[in-house]
Subunit: 207 residues, 2 copies
DNA sequence: TCAAAAATCCCCGACAACGGGTATTACACA
DNA sequence: TGTGTAATACCCGTTGTCGGGGATTTTTGA
């Protein structure tokens, strides 16, 4: 018997999945949640074997929830369920300890397959996902190399501050902040005008 | 017997709804689509009594599809099915001729109720929708709505493309893309260098 | 059919962001 | 004690973005 908990902010989709799984003999749904907080509660109470979770959710996002759950209950397997096949999200989800990744525009049958595969110790990644890409992986390992000032500036960039605003906040010269920007761009292997803001916004859940 | 066509770009959700409706005696699904073009095809071929459609879809969006269908087949009832309860979208959908409006974070049972109510000549609007405040509604409908090209460009901005790259992709002049950018900034009340990218990244997950 | 909205193109100036350098001070740690 | 890294600050030049205009064509809605 595979016990499952589902977290997904669209109740209609939760209902659809529940309906499908209800007729499966070897699968039992222990609970459903509409946000990350509810998911953590349910898992702590009932400890399912498999967790199926959306990435974008209110209160606590799927990546953070996965990281917390995998730390508390290493035996619990997590399958991510997302609308997007963005590499960053997938990469982060894998880093957080997910055993599978599904896309919402795949058939519902995929969900069933994924739960069964992951529930019996395997991994399941949607066919339309292409992983590896050494540049990205390298990027994520190098991100820890950022220094204290650099991290602070990156955070401020993520909050929408411009270079001159950051300089005022930190009581340093504009040229210093720009230097830090450039160093970060070099360290992270980025290029182009908006890339650092992009990076800051996408990684801002990481602190 | 109520005949139905469903359009929704997330196949998993289509499957869930289909699964639910399959066990209903008086409802029959004539076809499902993953984008607006497919929906138009199906409706023209099979002419269902009720159409359940997502608003955000590839190729042809739900609002446009509704407008076209209501013009060609005035007897066909349309129910909108959306993730967001933004007044502009609801207002536009009603203006296009929709008889109902559902939110994806409502239970699946609501879908059933809505189809039955609309299929028998009624209207069904989600309880958590509040449409009063005519002044505000009027204001937002004529102000905040982005056009087709603008939305496409916003999407590309969200994918990290620069203005010149977008111009190449769309086979238009750089100046045109810049004009669209500026119009969007004005429409959305933004200001500053990175704000549009910021907006694009934040709204990217919301449709 | 006809006006409104959208889409296309161009101009200018201002300035922030980036790429590529150089240089000084300070502090850690081996 | 020296080497390394971080943090500070400045230079030049290029490109992208934004604010503010104007103008034409095409599409669409009423």
């Amino acid at each position: 018997m595979i016990t499952v908990a589902i977290a997904e902010d669209h109740q209609s989709l939760v209902d659809g999945i529940s309906l499908l799984l209800k007729y499966e003999e070897d699968i039992s749904i222990l609970g459903t949640a509409n946000d990350g907080e509810q998911l953590l509660e349910i898992v702590r109470l009932k400890q399912p074997k498999v967790v199926l979770t959306d990435i974008k959710m209110p209160k606590v996002d799927g990546i953070t929830a996965t990281r917390i759950l995998r730390k508390e209950f290493p035996h619990i397997k997590v399958i991510a369920f997302s609308m997007f096949d963005q590499e960053e999200a997938i990469q982060q989800m894998i880093a957080a300890g997910a055993s599978g990744y599904l896309l919402k525009n795949s058939p519902l049958e995929e969900v069933l397959k994924a739960i069964k595969t992951v529930g019996t110790g395997g991994t399941y990644f949607d066919a339309s996902i292409n992983l590896e890409d050494p540049a990205k992986t390298q990027k994520s390992t190098e991100k820890t190399v950022l220094s204290k000032s650099e991290r602070e500036i990156l955070r401020l960039i993520g909050e929408g501050k411009t270079t001159s605003e950051i300089a005022n906040i930190r009581f340093t010269a504009v040229s210093t902040v720009e230097k830090h920007r450039k160093n970060m761009i070099r360290k992270l292997g980025l290029s182009g005008k908006g890339e650092l803001l992009r990076y800051a916004l996408e990684k801002k859940y990481d602190f």
